[in-house]
């Protein structure tokens, strides 16, 4: 367990005389025992970052410090890190016991001490009956648990996980997620978890590092990432179904900034601080925050008129796809009010739930007290 510091770590590749920036310089400090998730789509640089930390590739610049010691170019073995892989990477010719025992044996732990530690780890992970089996005889979830055990058994300074749940089916993924959470409570190793699955990131982490195209976009708690996404990318990446986004024109009126959709209707009236000049921006609202009601006849502000295009009933929830003029809107409906395709509805974006983005970045904005103008 240790504190990890990344200072200016970056990686550039040269391909056909052009420089390809796989990872822009980043600074990050991970506290002792913290669970940090690196979240991003493929190509975002998260795998590169992981490889740099583990030591399979050397950085183009910057340093990696583990408890103050510089391990930037250190040998794999010297880093005292452990890793869990997407396809488990268990030793096929060894039993579960052999797999768990291996790291201890390689570090020179005495035989008398190894056996009880193996048993203890097996008990922690529920593997006691499987100790004499070979990886080939185990299910995916069991194999993953052995991989976890093998990584944790030597109490490494840093615990890395590379999309460990991607190979499991949905149900198993949920189980293992809980398992990982539990493990981290019992054995609080400093952990870096890499994934493209934002649900895993939200559920497991103390902090999330969101990456896109080699850059770190936001480092924050899951709650902050969800409720105060730093930019359009984070806003669109986190949360499913994805946040609704509308291009809006911004004009001052009355006590606030009025955001108008392309069709001209006023979607929201806000008071951003620091203040924002008139111009264009993007208005975002999560599907579950959109208010709606059936409405025959004309619609009055602050409501907007829309027509239901498609309904997707998934049993637990219902997704309503509607159009406001030309703009598509996705609404997450949990209360099972009935509505039919083609029916006109009234839609409203409550100001407290709305996100305003100017030049791609989020701007803090409070609801404006004055009513929207009727122009």
């Amino acid at each position: 367990m240790a504190e990890i510091a990344l200072a200016g770590i970056c990686k550039t590749y040269v391909a056909r005389r052009r420089e390809v920036r796989a990872l822009a310089p980043l600074d990050l400090t991970i506290r002792d025992g913290e669970f940090v998730t690196v979240l991003g789509p493929s190509g975002s640089g998260k795998t590169t970052l992981l490889s740099l930390i583990v030591g399979t590739i050397a950085p183009s610049g910057g340093r990696i410090l583990v408890d103050g010691a510089d391990v930037t170019y250190a040998d794999l073995r010297a880093r005292d890190m452990a890793m869990v892989f997407q396809n488990y990477a268990l030793y096929p010719a060894k039993t579960v016991r052999g797999n768990l025992d291996f790291p201890l044996r390689m570090r020179g732990v005495a035989r008398a001490e190894r056996a009880p530690r193996v048993d203890a780890m097996a008990r922690l992970l529920g593997l006691t009956e499987l100790l004499d089996q070979y990886p080939r005889q185990l299910s995916g979830g069991q194999q993953q648990r052995v991989a976890l055990g093998r990584a944790l058994i030597r109490r490494p300074k840093l615990f890395l996980m590379d999309e460990p749940l991607s190979n499991l089916d949905a149900k198993l993924r949920l189980q293992m997620r809980t398992e990982i959470k539990r493990l981290h409570r019992e054995v609080p190793v400093t952990t870096v978890y890499v994934t493209h699955d934002q649900i895993e990131a939200m559920s497991l982490s103390d902090r999330v590092v969101v990456m896109n195209q080699g850059h770190v976009v936001q480092v924050d708690t899951p709650e902050a990432i969800y409720n105060r996404p730093a930019d359009l990318f984070v806003a669109g990446f986190v949360g499913a179904p994805a946040m609704n986004m509308f291009r809006v024109s911004l004009r001052s009126a009355g006590g606030g900034l009025v955001c108008r959709l392309d069709g001209g209707s006023a979607a929201a009236s806000l008071r951003p601080h620091p203040p924002v000049a008139a111009g264009n921006g993007v208005l975002g609202i999560r599907p579950k925050h959109v208010e709606w009601q059936t409405q025959a006849g004309p619609v009055e502000p602050p409501w907007l008129g829309g027509v239901v295009r498609e309904i997707d009933d998934t049993g637990d929830d219902r997704l309503i796809y509607a159009d406001i003029g030309q703009e598509p809107v996705t609404i997450l409906e949990t209360r099972h009010r009935s509505v039919a395709v083609g029916e006109p509805i009234a839609i409203r974006f409550p100001e407290p739930s709305v996100h305003l983005f100017v030049d791609g970045r989020r701007v803090e904005a409070a609801p404006a007290p004055a009513p929207a103008d009727t122009a």
């Binding site: 583990v54 399979t56 794999l76 073995r77 880093r79 890190m81 452990a82 890793m83 892989f85 396809n87 990477a89 268990l90 030793y91 096929p92 010719a93 060894k94 039993t95 291996f102 790291p103 390689m106 570090r107 089996q133 070979y134 080939r136 005889q137 093998r150 030597r154």
Partner: protein
């Protein structure tokens, strides 16, 4: 229209098992018939004919043969030269195969870590295998040459010997010398097989071993080697038979001498057949050899099919 039956071993079964209608049962035969006929004519017929010949006396002055029971076998099995050649062949086979495996594995491990140089290195190391036994024999004949050969020259310049050694006429050195040529020629095959096998070792598992603290040697022995088990077994089998059945190298380089020290069974059979012109006895010897080889094959077949859970 005949439907494709469940494809042969190794292909993913397409429709599961279809019940074969009468026509479908025959669908495969036309494809394999020419090959089967050819193999029967060129291999099976000679095989059977050999057995037939082995029981007949074959005087060299006439093509007529007559049955003489086990006389040929008796002569062969009591011929000290034959028995000696068997022993030599065993030494030759075991020595060459083991050396091939070791050298091949070493080369594969070294080449595997190369990036840019990998292609040229691999091609260069394969050259001995490509040019064939004949060129190999002559190349090393020249190398081993007593007066003008490279080897003697090197040994003389480093003052290890005072007079040139004629390796191929030496009773002690002849067999190792020709074996070296065989190893030189066949080891690249092992290298290629092991290179392919190493490609199949999952990188992440080796990485995990490194993280776990394994030294490169330990990682090789405990993690990589299990993945290589199958390819090692197969390569050993192929090499064993290939080495056992060599003819060219001893024939060209030493003609089996000196004093039959380098004579292996193929040479013996050839000599009996074409120098002594005794086909019957030669056939008997070849049948004996075939029996030995078949026993080997049966033993090996067993080791390939077993697959306990801990074996990759």
């Amino acid at each position: 229209m005949t439907t494709l039956a469940e494809p042969g071993s190794g292909t993913p079964a397409a429709f599961g098992s279809l019940r074969l209608r009468w026509g479908e049962r025959l669908a495969g035969y036309p494809y394999v018939l020419p090959a089967v006929l050819v193999v029967t004519a060129v291999m099976s017929y000679p095989f059977v004919y050999s057995i037939y010949l082995s029981f007949r006396a074959t005087p060299s002055y006439t093509t007529r043969t007559h049955f003489n029971g086990l006389a040929n076998y008796h002569a062969v099995l009591h011929d000290p030269i034959f028995l000696h050649s068997l022993l030599t062949t065993v030494i030759w086979t075991a020595g060459s195969t083991i050396a091939d495996l070791l050298l091949g594995m070493g080369a594969a491990l070294l080449v595997d870590r190369l990036r840019w140089f990998r292609g040229p290195a691999r091609a260069a190391l394969m050259l001995p295998y490509i040019v064939g036994y004949v060129v190999a024999s002559y190349a090393w004949l020249w190398l081993y040459q007593a007066e003008y050969g490279l080897l003697n020259d090197l040994l003389a310049s480093s003052h290890l010997i005072s007079r040139p050694i004629s390796f191929l006429s030496s009773l002690t050195w002849a067999l190792p010398a020709v074996m070296l040529v065989n190893i030189w020629k066949t080891a690249p095959f092992a290298m290629i097989m092991f290179l392919a096998g190493l490609q199949a070792v999952p990188e992440q598992t080796v990485l995990a071993a490194g993280l776990d603290g394994a030294s490169p040697a330990r990682a090789f022995l405990e993690v990589k080697l299990p993945y290589l088990r199958r390819v090692i077994v197969i390569t050993s089998i192929v090499l064993t038979f290939q080495n056992f059945n060599t003819f060219t190298i001893p024939y060209i380089m030493t003609s089996g001498g000196p004093l039959n020290r380098t004579e292996i069974v193929s040479n013996y059979i050839y000599d009996v057949a074409f120098t002594n012109l005794n086909f019957g006895r030669a056939a008997a010897a070849s049948v004996v050899v075939m029996i030995i080889l078949m026993l080997f094959a049966i033993a090996y077949a067993g080791s390939l099919s077993r697959r306990p859970p801990g074996v990759v």
